[in-house]
């Protein structure tokens, strides 16, 4: 016999989900974000205006082969409890061993977010009882996190116009390394909870953003930029739908010149679109609550994407005292730079901040600037190129293979390729038209072998993915432009001969 299996089943008393009355519909007052950082116009009551304050706590799952403190594999959607080591199941006597890759990912992310990296950081235990937290505590970095005091610049469109963009900055308070929890799967009909520990112990970076934002659009733009940075670095896959990026929003409102209001924390936001909705809803709700004489409770709320509103979270009622304590089984995490690196140590044994810094890839902002500079495309086009995974690379690949000017190529990428992709919900990688084929097509167009109308037709044919080259399609469909003088003269003569009356009229005019 061995230790009891990890997939234990037990009854659960509390009911999951939102209770209480359905939320009342909110007023339709537009909460257009004031990009100059001003206050939201006064509410219906016509009193002083409100200033919404939004801060974010973002958990990014580290992209690594194994977990933060154990050798178990990290994999999304593996069979339940198939990736669980003795440590992950908190078997007595097991000890954490820090995964170097996770440390490097956090350092990379810290550097990309302009943080100062702490050469010495510490691990702490945060205690609470929960079914998917087998040890009864989470190992995190409460006292001294690995990175602090950074910033993230992001761009915001005004009035949804891509051509009007403003750059904003949010301060990053800190980045801390911590363990992910397992997953509880609630079976309400049988009033059971099943626990899957595959995720338990996976490395997370918690990125804490200062409350420098004031609306859903800002929060969404900041998170989108962070997501692009993480994906560029490879430190996290940051797919929100797979839970690799989880965003909690802290929201409060106050009158200008007054101290910040009581804040609520909004959880369970699983897409960037819902983030914007949840934040704006919560701002609205708080303003209405306060204007109708109510008060805001310091509580955790969950966003219900179906109802489009936030509701109090039942599980987390009451204040928790996490009883933080230093993790005694892990020595302080020491990082080195070129100056402090001991002479006799190799890269395998230590994490060298400078070494990582030198190898950072171009970040999205730099990539965009380079695209604009190199190809003379509009700044807003550079955003679109980076927003789709692989699109900028596709664009550059096409350019390499065609004589067409980049400014013209970009139109084909954004208007044709991208809309086809969107229409069929495909990623760039899944595109049936490769960069080679598109370049081939554009070359035909550039050599005036076909008209641009015909090119669109060829593109539509290429999209079918039947393995034909543009040239084959052109021939098959007889779409080529006629370039032979005699041929053209013959056609013209034929037209003229066939339309005698019209010719006469023309001659007389």
């Amino acid at each position: 016999a061995a230790a009891r299996g990890c997939g234990g089943v037990w009854r659960r008393a509390w009911q999951r989900g939102a209770g209480g009355p359905a939320p009342a519909p909110r007023g339709q007052r537009a909460l257009a974000c004031n990009v100059r950082g001003g206050a939201v116009p006064a509410g219906k009551s016509g009193l002083a205006p409100w200033v919404p304050v939004v801060g974010l706590e973002i958990h990014a799952q580290i992209s690594s082969n194994s977990k933060l403190f154990s050798g178990s594999q990290v994999q999304f959607a593996a069979p339940p409890n198939s990736l669980v080591s003795f440590f992950d199941a908190s078997l007595p006597g097991t000890l954490p061993v820090l995964n170097r890759r996770c440390v490097e990912a956090a350092v990379m992310t810290g550097l990309a977010l302009n943080c100062s990296i702490n050469k010495k950081s510490l691990f702490d235990r945060k205690h609470y009882f929960y079914a998917d937290l087998p040890a009864g505590y989470q190992i995190t970095q409460q006292r001294v996190p690995i990175a602090v005091n950074g910033s993230l610049s992001y761009n915001l469109c005004i009035d949804n116009k891509m051509s009007q963009m403003v750059t904003k900055t949010v301060r990053i308070k800190q980045i801390q390394l911590e363990q992910d929890s397992g997953k509880s799967l609630h079976d309400d009909t049988r009033s059971q909870t099943l626990v899957d520990l595959n995720r338990a112990g996976v490395g997370l970076m918690e990125v804490v953003m200062e409350p420098d934002m004031c609306c859903g659009a800002e929060a969404a733009a900041a998170v989108r930029e962070l997501q692009l940075i993480l994906q560029t670095l490879g430190s996290s896959q940051a797919v929100m739908a797979e839970g690799q990026l989880r965003v909690d929003a802290n929201v409060s409102v106050h009158h200008p010149g007054e101290p910040y209001g009581v804040r609520t924390e909004v959880k369970n936001i699983n897409s960037i679109r819902f983030l914007a909705k949840a934040v704006d809803y919560e701002i609205e709700r708080q303003i209405e609550e306060l204007e109708s004489g109510g008060t805001i409770l310091n509580e955790t709320r969950v966003f219900d994407s179906k109802l489009g509103c936030t509701v109090p979270m039942r599980d987390k009622e009451g204040k928790q005292d996490y009883r933080f304590m230093p993790e005694p089984n892990l020595p302080p995490l020491i990082l080195y730079d070129a100056r402090s690196l001991p002479a006799n140590m190799n890269h395998q044994q230590v994490v060298n901040i400078d070494w990582i810094h030198e190898r950072l890839p171009d970040l999205p902002s730099v990539k965009r600037a380079k695209l604009v500079e190199r190809y003379g495309i509009l700044p807003e086009h550079s955003f679109t190129l980076l927003n789709e995974d692989g699109l900028a690379e596709f664009f550059e690949d096409v350019i390499k293979q065609t004589q067409m000017k980049p400014k013209k190529v970009i139109g084909w990428i954004l208007k044709d390729l991208l809309s086809y992709l969107k229409q069929h919900s495909l990623t760039v990688k899944e595109s049936p038209v490769s960069s080679f084929l598109l370049a081939d097509l554009l070359n035909c167009l550039e050599k005036k072998e076909i008209s641009s109308t015909a090119a669109k037709q060829v593109f539509a044919e290429l999209w079918k993915g039947e393995g034909k080259t543009p040239l084959e399609i052109v021939k098959e469909k007889n779409l080529q432009l006629i370039q032979d003088q005699k041929d053209l003269e013959q056609i013209c003569q034929a037209v003229i001969d066939g339309q005698e009356n019209e010719v006469i009229i023309c001659q007389w005019c």
Binding site: A2, R11, P92, G93, L95, F129, A131, Y137
Partner: protein, 526 residues
């Protein structure tokens, strides 16, 4: 790698020369365990696997390829070390019936070197105690209770009393391991030492008890009491044996990030020839209240022994040691509160039938699974860790701990090589006496002389020194510099040789041939 020429276990010479076969040795130990069952030293006896291991060992000897000095040596392991396939209970209802899927690193190392694991020894629940009386499987009896030496000197109070009621405790919490070594049922045993849990029972049972430097031995697989102080302890019959076991266990473990990175060089002990180069420190604070006059006399006699041999013996001061108990209480309970959080009935161990809600299941499981001592420590620990108390208790205790450790740094920095102190305040007390006080009071008193070494992470060893007026063992403690086990053990060995601690004369054991078990002639120090 096997130790070359370091055959210090007398019995390993016998094994090597074929005078005794591993299976025969194993069987003799197993039958001794049976005949001394009343000691309650073992929680689990792994007869079958032990015999299998002995057979394997025998094959290796026959091939002339033993794995090393430990091959075929019967050992016992405290029941708070994980052993794959053999129940690991921590003497708690919480883990009754729990079979771990893995071996603790130190257990694995012993097995890899051919040692024969006889079974798991008794302790206080989760090692919380100083008597080995507070486990769910009942108290451990000190083998010396049944020695001729004790029987001759103890006078029964009245004839109506149970003649058995005079038995004395082993000390704890590794009392089962100490009793197992002391009663010859094994040749070495693993204990654990957080505040004295190896040295205290070693002193009461008349065996050598070594607490290595923190970080020298892996804690992977040792079910923790206080992670920042726990070390696997070694209990043997003589200092040489302790050195052999230490050498086979020490070194970096990738599974324990708090072990030293440097390679550990196994050593064997040579005889100390020049005592005059030695500087022995006598910490005055160890004249603790409650120290028996008998032990005090023994202590100064031991100091004289060194002085007469030419060593420099000086009084030193460790001024913060007096705060050690209260400091330990805060740090220990805080870590206990945290470490015990995992026992919630979900993944392993006891689970209550209570199923009204997850929370009520947690509560009932922990209520049923832990004894009062464990629950009490969890409660105090959580109190100290509350946000409003953290600064005042936990942080302060950590600062005091630093001061205690710095005291040692200063003393060793001043040229002192080894500190000599008593291990316990008195000899072992009768069980009936012991249980009059609660666990907390007892632990506070009993750990007073041993705890500071854990606070500072220093190596320390109990060397059995003499018999008390009541015919019970008394030991003295040597504390050394960090990672200077070789020096510590060399001095301890010299001392051991001088004092000639007497052999236990077990009445129950008379039937057994002790030929290969004995290797110390009895001759008294006092």
């Amino acid at each position: 790698a096997a130790l070359k020429g370091g055959l210090r276990f007398q019995v390993s010479a016998a094994l090597k020369e074929g005078r005794v076969a591993p299976t025969e040795l194993c069987q003799r130990c197993l039958s001794l365990i049976k005949s001394t069952e009343f000691l309650n030293a073992y929680i689990t006896v792994a007869e079958e696997t032990a015999l299998k291991q002995a057979e394997e060992s025998e094959k290796r000897y026959r091939r002339g390829q033993p794995l090393g000095v430990l091959d075929g040596i019967p050992i016992a392991v405290k029941d708070n070390f994980n052993t794959a396939g053999i129940e690991t209970t921590c003497a708690s209802n919480m883990l009754k019936g729990y079979i771990s899927p893995y071996n603790a690193t130190v257990v694995q190392k012993l097995l890899d070197q051919g040692a024969v694991l006889l079974g798991k020894t008794n302790l206080d629940e989760f090692a919380m105690g100083s008597g080995s009386t507070d486990g769910v499987f009942g108290p451990v009896r000190n083998p010396w209770s049944y020695s001729r030496q004790y029987k001759e000197k103890s006078v029964p109070k009245s004839h109506s009393e149970d003649k058995d009621s005079n038995w004395v405790i082993t000390g704890g919490s590794s009392g089962g391991s100490a009793a197992a070594v002391s009663s010859f049922t094994c040749f070495a045993a693993l204990g654990s030492d957080t505040g004295g849990s190896t040295r205290n029972p070693a002193a009461h049972c008349g065996v050598v008890g070594l607490k290595p430097t923190y970080g020298l031995l892996s804690r992977h697989g040792l079910i923790p009491l206080v992670n920042s102080m726990d070390v696997p302890g070694i209990l043997t019959r003589c200092v040489d044996d302790a050195a052999v076991v230490l050498s086979s266990l020490a070194g970096h473990d990738p599974k324990d990030s708090t072990t030293i990175q440097d390679n550990f060089k196994p050593f064997e002990l040579s005889d100390l020839t020049d005592v005059s180069k030695l500087s022995i420190g006598i910490p005055k604070e160890y004249h603790a209240p409650g120290l028996s006059s008998e032990i005090l006399a023994l202590w100064s006699k031991a100091a004289d022994l060194f002085k007469n041999a030419g060593a420099k013996v000086i009084e030193v001061s460790l001024p913060h040691t007096r705060y050690s108990i209260v400091c330990y209480h805060v740090l220990c309970t805080a870590e206990v509160a945290s470490n015990m959080a995992r026992f919630d009935g979900l993944e392993y161990g006891h689970r209550s039938d209570m199923n009204k809600s997850t929370e009520s299941m947690y509560a009932a499981t922990r209520r049923e699974g832990f004894n009062d001592v464990v629950r009490g420590r969890i409660l105090s620990g959580n109190y100290f860790l509350l946000k409003q108390n953290y600064e005042n208790y936990f942080i302060k205790a950590q600062k005091v701990r630093r001061l205690i450790a710095n005291d040692f740094v200063k003393v060793f920095g001043s040229g002192v090589d080894i500190l000599l102190t008593p291990t316990t305040l008195s000899d072992a007390v009768p069980y009936m006496e012991f249980i009059k006080e609660d666990n907390r009071t007892r632990s506070a008193q009993d750990d007073i002389l041993t705890q500071a070494a854990n606070m500072a992470g220093l190596p320390a060893i109990n060397v059995p020194t003499a018999l008390s007026e009541r015919g019970l063992p008394v030991g003295l403690q040597f504390i050394g510099r960090s990672f200077q086990e070789k020096q510590l053990l060399t001095v301890a060995k010299w001392f051991e040789k001088q004092v000639k601690f007497p052999m236990i004369q077990l009445e129950e054991g008379k039937r057994h041939d002790h030929g290969v078990f004995q290797h110390q002639k009895s001759a008294s120090f006092l």
